[in-house]
Symmetry: C2
Subunit: 493 residues, 2 copies
C-alpha cells in the first residue's frame, strides 16, 4: 500500500511505528518539523511524542515552518513537551501556555529561522520530522501541501524521520521547487520560475524511520467574506484601479502577497470580477481565494510555501490537481519570503493588523501589548520589502468595544517606515510620502470607526500642542487600552 510511494530501495526497510520513532528523541533536543499554516505538518509524531512526555517527561525545542494543524501544538504543549517553540503558532492551548510563561516562544520573521540555524545563532536541529508524499528513486523527499522549513531541517539535522502520508495525492509530486539560499544571488526573477528541484535530497543513512500516516491536513478555519471584509476589498480595488489609471501599474498589477486569515482571503476574493487580469501571486500561503482566482482565469500563476483550504475547496483542488500543477509552485519559506525576492519583484503585500495607530505603526501580534495572539509570521518579510505595504483591519472588535485605530499601538511589529496603506471597512489611507502629522488626520477620517473619530482627533490636537515630529501624550497614549481592561470598552464613559 505504501510501497509504491517508497521508490528508493534503501528506504523500504525503515518503516517504523510512530512510537518507535518517538523513542529516538532525547530530552533537550531541538526538533524541526514540517508544517506551515496547518498544511503539510507531521500527523503522527506530535501525538506519540506527547504520549512520551506525559509518560516519562520529555521537553524539546520545537521549530516548524509556521502553525501546525490537528491540534498538535496544543497536544504537545499540554503534555509539557514544548520547552521552547519557534517561529510561529496559532493554537489556543499553546497560546495560553506562552502567555503564562510556561513555553518560551520566539516570534520570528518566517524567512529568518533557517538563516539563524545555518549561522549557528540558534542551536542546531537534532531531528527533522518531515511529512512526505513519496520518496523518489533518487531518495528525495517529496513534500505534501507545504514546504516551509523542511528542506533546511533535512539538510541540517543529524537524524531525519519521514512521515509518509498516504492521504496526500501522488500528483503533488512536481508541485515543489526546492532551493536553498547560498552566498550567491537567487536567480528568481518571475513568480512562475522554477529554480530548484522537485524533492528534498537526503542521505538515506540519516533517515532513521519512516512512519506511515493517512490523516489529512486540518482544513482552513478562515471565515467567509462578510459586509465589512467586502468593503475592505472594495477600497483596495478602487485604490489599485487608481494606481493603474495613474500609470504606476499595468492591469496585471504587481505580484500579490496576501497574509493568512479571513480578511486577506476576502480581499483576494474581491478581485474576482475586478478589472485586473494576468495577475500573479508571490505569497507564503494560498487560501481558497487564490484557487478561486486561478479558476476565474484572472490569476495566471501562484507561488507560495503552502496551501491551506476549506474542506470543499480542498476537495475541488485535489480533484483538479492536474489542472493546477502548471500554475502553482511551492517553495521553501526562506525563498517565498526572501527579502531579496520580495524587493526585486516589487510585491503588493496585504497583511492583517490587530491594531494600528495615528502615525501608521502596526501591532500584528500582542493583545493589549502583552498577550501573544499568533506571531508576526511572514508579514514583516513582505511589508518591509514590498512595493506597496498594505495593512487591513476591521475598524473595531468586540462589537465596537475595541477600536483598531488607537492613539499609540501597545506593541510595534511594523514601524511607520514599513507601512504604505491602511484600510478598514470605512476607507483607505494612502500614507506614501506623508509626514506623521499629515498621516494622523487621514487615518482618523478614512479608517477609524465614526464613534472613535472625535476622541482620536482630540488626542491628536492636544498632542500637537506639545509639539514634536510625532506628537503624543505619553501619559494618555495607552489610556484606551487601560480603560478596556477595567471597563471592557475603549469608549469614554
Amino acid at each position: 500500500m505504501y510501497r509504491d510511494r517508497i521508490r528508493h530501495p534503501a528506504f523500504i526497510n525503515k518503516v517504523r511505528t510512530a512510537e518507535e520513532a518517538a523513542s529516538l528523541f532525547k530530552n533537550g533536543m531541538t526538533v524541526g518539523m514540517s508544517g506551515f499554516t496547518r498544511a503539510g505538518d507531521a500527523k503522527a509524531l506530535p501525538g506519540a511524542l506527547a504520549q512520551r512526555a506525559k509518560r516519562e517527561g520529555l521537553a524539546l525545542t520545537l521549530i516548524t515552518g509556521a502553525s501546525l494543524g490537528s491540534g498538535s501544538d496544543g497536544l504537545m504543549a499540554d503534555a509539557g513537551l514544548l520547552a521552547r517553540r519557534l517561529p510561529f503558532q496559532a493554537d489556543a492551548t499553546l497560546r495560553r501556555k506562552i502567555n503564562d510563561g510556561k513555553v518560551m516562544f520566539i516570534d520570528q520573521h518566517l524567512s529568518e529561522t533557517v538563516v539563524q540555524l545555518r549561522s549557528g545563532s540558534l542551536a542546531p536541529v537534532d531531528i527533522a520530522v518531515i511529512e512526505a508524499t513519496a520518496i523518489t528513486e533518487d531518495g528525495g523527499i517529496v513534500p505534501t501541501m507545504a514546504v516551509g522549513n523542511s528542506a533546511s531541517f533535512v539538510q541540517q539535522a543529524r537524524t531525519v524521520i519521514i512521515e509518509l502520508n498516504l492521504s496526500a495525492p501522488r500528483a503533488l509530486e512536481g508541485l515543489h521547487d526546492i532551493y536553498l539560499a547560498t552566498g550567491l544571488p537567487i536567480p528568481l526573477i518571475r513568480p512562475e520560475q522554477r529554480i530548484g528541484s522537485s524533492a528534498i535530497a537526503v542521505d538515506p543513512e540519516r533517515v532513521a524511520a519512516i512512519v506511515i500516516t493517512d490523516s489529512p491536513d486540518s482544513p482552513s478555519n478562515v471565515l467567509p467574506p462578510d459586509e465589512e471584509t467586502a468593503a475592505i476589498a472594495g477600497h483596495i480595488i478602487a485604490f489599485l484601479s487608481g494606481e493603474v489609471s495613474a500609470g504606476r501599474m499595468g492591469r496585471a498589477l504587481r505580484p500579490i502577497q496576501a497574509g493568512i486569515g479571513t480578511i486577506a482571503n476576502a480581499v483576494l476574493q474581491g478581485l474576482i470580477g475586478s478589472p485586473f487580469n494576468g495577475l500573479t501571486m508571490y505569497s507564503e500561503v494560498l487560501q481558497d481565494s487564490a484557487i478561486a482566482l486561478l479558476d476565474s482565469g484572472q490569476l495566471t500563476f501562484a507561488s507560495a510555501s503552502s496551501i491551506t483550504l476549506s474542506p470543499a475547496m480542498h476537495e475541488h483542488f485535489i480533484s483538479n490537481l492536474q489542472d493546477y500543477r502548471s500554475r502553482i509552485l511551492l517553495r521553501p519559506q526562506e525563498i517565498s519570503n526572501h527579502p531579496e525576492i520580495v524587493r526585486r519583484l516589487g510585491l503588493i503585500a496585504i497583511n492583517t493588523a490587530l491594531e494600528f495607530d495615528l502615525y501608521g505603526n502596526v501591532n500584528s501580534t500582542h493583545v493589549g501589548g502583552t498577550h501573544m495572539m499568533n506571531g508576526i509570521g511572514g508579514s514583516g518579510d513582505f511589508a518591509r520589502n514590498s512595493h506597496l505595504s498594505v495593512f487591513v483591519s476591521k475598524s473595531t472588535a468586540k462589537q465596537g468595544a475595541i477600536s483598531s485605530v488607537v492613539p499609540m499601538v501597545t506593541h510595534v511589529d511594523h514601524t511607520e517606515h514599513d507601512v504604505d496603506i491602511l484600510v478598514t471597512e470605512w476607507g483607505l489611507a494612502d500614507l506614501r510620502g506623508l509626514a506623521p502629522r499629515e498621516r494622523a488626520p487621514l487615518i482618523i477620517e478614512r479608517c477609524a470607526h465614526p464613534d472613535y473619530r472625535a476622541p482620536l482627533r482630540a488626542y491628536f490636537e492636544q498632542a500637537v500642542q506639545r509639539g514634536g515630529h510625532t506628537p503624543h501624550l505619553l501619559e494618555q497614549a495607552f489610556s484606551w487600552h487601560s480603560r478596556y481592561l477595567s471597563t471592557q470598552t475603549m469608549r469614554a464613559p
Copy 2:
C-alpha cells in the same frame, strides 16, 4: 582652472553662477541633492536657493542621500525653502522646524527612497543637484566623497545641475562604483567587488548648469572615544572572540557595518590591535576609525556610500589617496544598504540606540517618543537583514538623569525581531533564541546602569504577575519618561 575637470565639450559652455542656476527652480518642485552624512553635498545651491526663498518665497520638497554639511539644511529651513524633507537630516535648525511641524519630514530607510521614486510612490525629481569631482570624456559625472542617491537623481530628473568642486581631489576618480538595481539579481557577492561604472552617465541635454565651487565637506563632528565607548568596544570584541572560538566565524569575522556617530566609531577604533584580521566593511559611511583600521592592516577592504572624516584624518586620507584607492569603493546607498546584499553577505551590523527596552525593542530616533533627533537612516536596512544585529548605547544620558534602558521604548524603530545583541558600557546581552521573559533579566543585569536595575526589576516582576508573552504595565510603561518631563530625571524621588 576648472576646464581640465570638464573633459566633454558639450558641458564646457554650461558654467553658470549659483544664482543663475537657482533661478531654474519653481515653487513646489521636488529637488534631489547629493550629500550623505555631511559628505559630497552641494555647497553653492543651498545658499543661493535660500536667498531666493527669502527674497521672493520659494518652497520645495528636498530629497538627499542623507544629512548635509555646511549648515545647509539649517540655512534652507530658516529661509522657509523646505516644505518637505526626506529621507534623513542631522541639523539643529531643521530639527527644530520639524518638531514644530513647520517642515514635513519623512523619515525613511535609506535604501528605499529611490525605490519609491522609481515606482512613483513619491513625486518625481524635477531637478537634481549633484556635486562632482569631474566630468569625463564620456560625459559621466564623477562624484566626490559620497554617492548617496545621486545616480538615481540624475537618472530620473528632468534637469540636472552639477556643482563642480575644485577642492575635491582629482584622484577620487575611480573610487566610485555606480550600479542601480533593476529587476535582476545584483551580482555582488563580495564587499570588494566592482559591479558598475566609475561615473554617473548623464545626457548633456539635461544638464542645465555647471556651478563651480571650492568649499570642502564639513568635517565629522564625532567625538573621540572615551572610557564608556571603550568599554562598549571591549564587550563587543570579547563577544566576537567568543563567536570565533565557538567556530561560528573565522578571524576575519563577517563584513562589518557601523552606523554614523561617536559610539560606532569608537567600536571600530577598538578593533585596532584586536585579534581579528582580514576584516572587511560593507557599510554606509566610513568614519575615522575605518581609515585607521585600513592603516593598521587589519581591514582589507571597505565598501560604503560616503566618507566623513575629522579634519586631521581628512588631510591624511587625501594625502594618501593613492594608497586607499584599491581598498575602498563608494556605492549608491541603494546598493550599500540593499537588503539583498546585506542578507547575502551576512553582515555584523553595529548601530546606535537612543533607548532600548526590557524586551529588545529599539528607539533610534524620537526623544520622549515625540521629538525627532535625526532619523532612522540606514540602521533598519542593516539591522533587519544582517547576520548579527548589534545596538549600542551608553546606559544613561544627561549625567544619569535618563536611563537608556527603559520599561518600554516610547517609539519603535527596530522591533524585538530585528535585534540580536544589546551593549552598554556595563555589558552585553545576547538575545539570540531567547523569549521576551528571558531577555528582560539579561538586559537588566548586563546593560542597565546599576542605579536603574532595581526599578527595572520591580517593573518586570510586577508585569509578570499580570501575565503575557511580553509582560507590561501599560499604565506605568512610560512613567519614567513622564517623570523626566516633569522632574528632569527618571530617578524615583
